[in-house]
């Protein structure tokens, strides 16, 4: 591991931490559930991505890099899916009347 690369890796690492912080602030400050979903999904996915990038710059072998990329892809997919699922869930709670109910909402 070269020193300048380790030093440079602090840029994405700290940027990632910033987005995690922003996500939490959004989670606490935003006035409604959907806006809070925006904050968590985007900020945390980006935060994880940046921290992963920073760690990749310090990684000792290719295997560690590949596992970290795999984890990021997985978290991105699950984050996007969970966000959509929670938005749909909340929407159904707010408007349970049959005419607004989409076909695939209930199994």
């Amino acid at each position: 591991m070269t020193d300048w690369l380790a030093l440079l890796s602090w840029v994405p690492l700290l940027a990632g931490a910033f987005f995690f912080l922003a996500g939490t602030v959004g989670l606490l400050r935003f006035p409604d559930i959907y806006s809070r979903l925006h904050a968590i999904t985007k900020a945390d996915t980006l935060g994880l991505g940046l921290v992963t990038l920073g760690l990749i710059m310090r990684a000792e072998n290719w295997q560690a890099v590949a596992v970290m990329v795999l984890i990021w892809l997985l978290m991105m997919g699950s984050g996007a899916t969970t966000c959509q699922l929670l938005a749909r869930y909340q929407q159904d709670l707010e408007a349970p009347d049959a005419d607004k109910e989409p076909v695939h909402a209930r199994r």
């Binding site: 925006h38 996915t45 980006l46 899916t81 938005a87």
Partner: protein
């Protein structure tokens, strides 16, 4: 579709799954225990083929451009939401709006509806009857163009042209 072509499609899908699961085994074990690994890869590939009957025809040569575009959008999405969260006056104008879907392809719609949540200022709960339900964090901002660009990119990447 002719019969031999259908078989070729199946074989192609199986081999792709096999390579994918084999790579996963290699990655997680560091290339050890291939006796188990081979059995795992073959059975996982068979299961994947059984579970997803129409494997996505991903156009690999378009993938790098797509990833670059997506990373750019994710970065601006995170920055946008961070700015709003840390702004003293919380500049939000949240609203549910409709987005008319252009693509007829089910997979494109499905992936789009999930990925829209990672674009700047948008989030989707579901799609029905050619309409994507989009929640925008600021209705005064232009958001349609980004969604349309992603939809187009997804269509280029994985739309089934045979249909």
């Amino acid at each position: 579709m002719h019969r031999p072509k259908a078989v070729a499609v199946k074989v192609y899908a199986f081999v792709s799954w096999l390579i994918l699961h084999g790579a996963l085994w290699w990655l997680l074990t560091g290339g050890h225990g291939w006796a188990f690994g081979l059995a795992f890869a073959v059975s996982a590939a068979a299961l994947s083929l059984y579970l997803s009957r129409s494997p996505l025809p991903l156009r690999l040569h378009r993938l790098p451009g797509f990833v670059a575009m997506f990373c750019r959008e994710l970065l601006s999405a995170g920055w946008d939401v961070a700015r709003r969260a840390l702004h003293p006056r919380l500049p939000l104008a949240p609203q549910w709006l409709d987005y008319p879907l252009q693509s007829r392809d089910f997979h494109v719609r499905l992936v789009l509806s999930a990925m829209v949540g990672l674009l700047p200022g948008t989030l989707s709960s579901r799609f029905e009857d050619d309409i994507l339900w989009v929640h925008v964090i600021d209705a005064t901002q232009p958001w349609q163009d980004t969604v349309a660009a992603l939809e187009q990119a997804l269509a280029n990447l994985l739309e089934d042209r045979r249909a």
